[in-house]
Subunit: 375 residues, 2 copies
Amino acid sequence: MSGFSFQIRATDGRARAGLIRTPRGEIRTPAFMPVGTAATVKAMLPESVAETGADIILGNTYHLMLRPTAERIARLGGLHRFMNWPGPILTDSGGFQVMSLAALRKLSEEGVRFKSHIDGSEHFLSPERSMEVQRLLGSDIVMAFDECPALPADAAEIARSMRLSMRWAARSKAAFDGSGGAALFGIQQGGLSREFRAESSEKLREIGFDGYAVGGLAVGEGQEAMFATLDFAAGMLPADRPRYLMGVGKPADIVGAVERGIDMFDCVLPTRSGRTGQAFTRRGVLNIKNARHADDSRPLDEACSCPACRGYSRAYLHHVFKAREIIQSMLLTWHNLQYYQDLMADIRAAIAGGRFAAFARDFRARQEAGDDGGL
Amino acid sequence: MSGFSFQIRATDGRARAGLIRTPRGEIRTPAFMPVGTAATVKAMLPESVAETGADIILGNTYHLMLRPTAERIARLGGLHRFMNWPGPILTDSGGFQVMSLAALRKLSEEGVRFKSHIDGSEHFLSPERSMEVQRLLGSDIVMAFDECPALPADAAEIARSMRLSMRWAARSKAAFDGSGGAALFGIQQGGLSREFRAESSEKLREIGFDGYAVGGLAVGEGQEAMFATLDFAAGMLPADRPRYLMGVGKPADIVGAVERGIDMFDCVLPTRSGRTGQAFTRRGVLNIKNARHADDSRPLDEACSCPACRGYSRAYLHHVFKAREIIQSMLLTWHNLQYYQDLMADIRAAIAGGRFAAFARDFRARQEAGDDGGL
């Protein structure tokens, strides 16, 4: 575990602001990690991602092991060199994507056999293979291999799945090779159940990890249920380690989760929304395809410093959306990532200043004042 | 015609190196103009286009008049502000695209009535309307409205079309408003015929333009016929004005045309090829989709300074091509535009140094040594 550390520098209620140190650089928390699924944060050059203020990005084990393969990336010097991102990278375990994307899955105690959604080739993922793939990629923060049950699921299924994931967590820890300075995070499961979340947390603490994720949320349960679960689930994880809420989320989800003690986030929302013409602004979400932007000379967001807002009108962005030009995806993705990083910077400053409750209240009021509809 | 000037600073054989001055900036010649059809050089931010060394870009009157419309662009402050390109812009007249893209064209002495290829709406282009559209866009170099006959065409049709274009050239000159400092270029037509090219040039000289284009080439006649035509056609145009070969071309086309006295070029080849995985290198064209690049840790071109070559292996570019990631188009387009601008810089230096013949010989030898096939 050498080379990885987490320091809490300020707390405000349950919210925490801190610093993760890794051999490849520091991560200011609360942190948002842009998603670089297939060795690219879609429509962005990596230096542009860094310019937005991102300290760390996420890579997807499932996608990369299928194409171009982890072995090929290792031969080429690892994922950082391959995709030209010198900073920290967190890789997921492949467990979630194998359940949501792969065909013909066959689950056993040993692991998951599945067919690639790309070419139908057969593959196997297990805690040991996931650790190997993430090591070959050169990941800085490795996620334990877990199972994500398909929803809806009854209590017995949630418990069965959680207990399997905890046995896999122990096997992940045993197979993990941290000699290069990588950290290993465990993943709490247990659905919306306080009892199962407590059991999962107990198991993870026994095994011992560098950080802890809350898994199995943001899978359709809605914000209210997610927050209700976080109200008890986050505090079950060790206070002195980073807490990572996987796959979250909308700006309001992030603010609410930080209020409940979460330190790290990842989500495809800012990048994916950018490609479909949705822009996050300080007044809510704006749909650039809306015809009312066609003659609007204003930028997306007057308060934003990104290239899309510095150089272009809404009218231009509307035009290039209609014309299906690549620059539309480039500019709106950049803007959305800038919005997310600005939000995280504001959150960190509010926590450090002891005014996070007021910040969260103002944030929600501004979002509601938006006149462009929601997502 | 105030604000526009052309100075020849060096000649070497028939090749010329010079400087065009416009109110929006200088253009080093021989110059290559990246094509920004719909108010964007596809897959590039305009500051990146400038970084490659481009002094001027081209905008397409036909596309912009249909969407978002010239009137809208004018309301928003003109094309430069709209697309965030502060440097010079040359706009074509719309004549070529209306013939190649529009549906249900009806040609008369007055102009061309046609239906939009986007939404079927009816439009009319004439010398007067083309001048108006280019003025609304805020073009720095305005092209006279001409007709491009569909090929193959017999001599009578080539002559008829050329003479119509010359009458339209006179009407373009009469309708042109250069009060904002814009320049007007005439377009020589006449197919592959020395006689018709001479007649066209005579008419254009009588009318008088700031610069002269060679039109009606690079339309399928082949490099040999194009060079044979340029051998007599370029010299028919005034020596003290810029000569612009429209829609050209491959690197070898450009080198050969500079040898024959051409100063300006535009072509979609570097941008379009970038999006389909073809990269121009100092050793010829490379197809990044070729499986032999999958494990190749070398850059596209060791001698290139672009971000694609500084930061990425051929293996990475192959991967993102296979994964259909937007960054593939971004990186290969940047590389190809850098290649073209580096080529133009090398051409200018060779002319200035009085060694252009040797440069052209070496260039052709290097291209033939390439091992990755041609376009």
